[in-house]
Each structure stands twice: as C-alpha cells, then as structure tokens.
Amino acid sequence: MGGLGSALRLSQSPVYMAVAACLVLVFLYFGMKPAAVVPGRLQAAAELSYKFIHNMAVDTIGPEGAAFFPFIFALFFFIMAGNYLGLIPFSFTFTSHIAVTLALALMVFLLSVIVSLKVQGLHFFAHFMPAGAPVWLAPLLIPIEILSFLSRPVSLSIRLFANMVAGHVMFDIFASFIIMLASLGFVGDVLAVGPLVINIALMGLELLVGALQAYVFAILTCIYLREAVAH
C-alpha cells in the first residue's frame, strides 16, 4: 500500500461515521415501521425530527428550502449522532476532527456558492459591494466582504471542532484530577468525589452542546443557502 492506500485504511473514525449514519437510519426505520395514524413514542420522535428540520429549512430558506431539506436533515443528524456517539466512553468523536468538520463546512460552502451562481448568475458578485455604500469605500468594503465570505467555512468548521474538543478536554482534565487525588489515599478518595460530580454535570452540558452545535451548523447552512437562493 502506498500513501494513498494507507490513507484509505479504515480507521475507527469512518466506522463511527457509519455507525452514526446507520443509527439515524435505524431510528427512522423502526420509528416509521408502524406508520400509524396515531403515532407511538418512537414514531412521534421520528416525525418530530422530520418536522423540526423541515420547518427549519423552509422557514429559514423560504419555499425553495424544501429542495435542500434532505441535505440539511442529513447534515444535522450526521453531526448530532457523531457528537452523541462521542460521549460514550471509549468511543471516538469524528466531529472533533478538524479534517472532518472542515470537509463538511467546505461542502456547505461550495454548495452555497454553486447555488448562488446558478440562481443569481454574475449578479452574485454584486453582493460583495453592500448596496447603498459610497463608491469611494469600495476598495475597503469589497476585500472585507470577500474575506468575511471566505471565512464562513473556517468559522463553521472551527466552531464545531473546538466545541467538541473543548468538551472532551474538560472531561479528560477532571477525570485526571480524580486519578491524581486518588493517589493521596483516603482523603484524596473523598475529595475525588468533587471532579466526579463535575464530570457528571459536564456530561449533561455536553449533551446540550452536542445537539446545539449540530443545530448551529444546520441553521447556518440554511442561512447561507437562503442568501444563495435570494434574488
């Protein structure tokens, strides 16, 4: 195997991506299996997740949002399942890898640029000069606008990556406190309850962050796409 071959070796990251994707599909499969008029709990959850993303896509992007809905749905649940899978001890968090989040963000960025060019044509480039601004400010404004536009995938990817890394680093730090305190004997064992409690609370926080970051990623994607489809 050459360099390419070793890059394509299956590491645990793709395994967890596949697990995340399969979990979401299994959730939808078993949720919608009864296809009942009056839904049970799992079906209600599946329908709720559908409606939640559908409303977000249509409300944010507009009527054209229905076309992007499967993409937004895939994005949101891929990220959220990845975030939550990473909270299981000894598992792997693929959303904590900048390579993965940057790839996702670049995909969103390229999609929004392609849609912009398709919908607005060359008028797309007029957005880099804010309407109503004095012309003599153009040499200043246009580079700023281009820079802010280009920084979108960077901020999008770093936000998710940094949140995931920070959460797991906090887990690691407080867990290492427990081990350090345990070496102090009985007093240390008693004191170690403190970081343990903090880690339990952090788990609650990370559950929130995991959903929130997936939501932020999805809603920002919606906002970029809204700008893309706007005439």
Partner: protein, 198 residues
C-alpha cells in the same frame, strides 16, 4: 423460579466477566490515547483518510435519507394530514347540513308565525270592519230618527206658531173688553197686531 435462578447464575457469571473486561479496557485505554492533538497531526494519513470515508458515508447517508427514509416519513405525515383534513371536511359538511336544517326549521317557524299573524290580522280586520259597518248603520238610523224627530218638532212648532195670531187677537180683544167694557171690532184687533205675529 427456575428461570430466575438461571438468570441469577448467568448474572453472577456475566458481571465479573464484564467488570474484568472493563478493567482490561481501562488498562488498555491509555495506550489508545494519542498524545497532544491527533486532529492536527496531518502527517498521519488516517487524518485525511477521514475526509474520503466521511464523504462516501455522508453521500450514502444522504442518498438513503432522500430516497428512502424521508419519503417514508413524508408519506405517513401526508396521509395523516389528508385523513385529518378529510375528517374535518366531513365534519364541516355535517355541520353545514345541520345548520341548513336548523335554518329551515327556523324559516318554517317564522313562516308559520307570519301566516298566523296574517290570519289573525285578517280576522281582526274583518271584525273591525264589521263593527264599523254596524256602527255606521246605527249612526245612519239614529241620524234618520233624529231627522224625523226634528221634522216633527219643526212641524209642531210651525203649527203652534200658525195658531198664535188668533190666540193673540183673542187675548187682545179680551184685554180691551175688560179695560173698556166694549167688545172691539175683530178687524181692528187684527190690524193692530204686529205684522210679525203670523
């Protein structure tokens, strides 16, 4: 009780096995940790390998969602919406039907009321006309009687007035006779009477 006992036996076997497995994992775990930030270790080919695999998995995930999972949810939601709106339509139609029936009932009641009122007015009017006619008749008869009585009175009066002259002449002759002792001449008395006493 047998299954419970076997379960207990199984549990007593499983729990230590799981615990020892967990201990082994924990013991193994530190070796699984990479030092520093493996995310930024781009020299490791696996770091960028994630992008390829992530792309493939995400694409398959997206296609599975778009082609299979999400349409399934949509079908269920749509059939429910259709059913609910169908039921709502049914209920709305039934309500319209009931409203129409109530309206017809009220209309019938109003018509009946109006008819009764008209009938009542007709009867009352007829009675009133009849009473007026009878009153007029009575008035006419009374007028007639009054007229007849007045005519009789006038006749009596004129008769009384026509016999006034002889009585006056007689009275005048009598007065003259008493005063003078001589009977006056009838013609002279007649001439002396004022002309307006006819």
């Amino acid at each position: 009780m047998f299954p419970v006992r076997t379960m207990k036996a199984a549990l007593t076997g499983i729990v230590p096995a799981v615990l020892s497995g967990a201990v082994l994992l924990v013991a193994e775990a530190p070796r699984a940790y990479a030092s520093g930030m493996p995310q930024l270790d781009f020299a490791n080919p696996l770091t960028l390998g994630q992008v390829f695999w992530g792309g493939v998995i995400f694409l398959l995930f997206f296609l599975a969602l778009r082609g299979w999972a999400l349409p399934k949810v949509e079908t269920v939601l749509k059939s429910r919406d259709d059913r609910i709106s169908g039921d709502l339509d049914l209920a709305r139609n039934a309500k319209a039907e009931a409203d129409r029936a109530v309206h017809e009932l009220l209309q019938a009641r109003r018509d009946a009321h109006a008819e009764a009122q008209a009938h009542l007015e007709k009867v009352v009017g007829a009675e009133r006309d009849e009473a007026a006619r009878r009153l007029a008749e009575m008035n006419a008869r009374l007028e007639e009687e009054i007229g007849a009585a007045e005519a009789a009175v006038a006749q009596e009066r004129s008769r009384a007035l026509s016999s006034l002259r002889p009585i006056a002449a007689e009275a005048a002759a009598e007065i003259v006779g008493r005063l003078t002792g001589a009977q006056p001449d009838q013609d002279a008395v007649g001439r002396a009477l004022p002309a307006h006493i006819s």
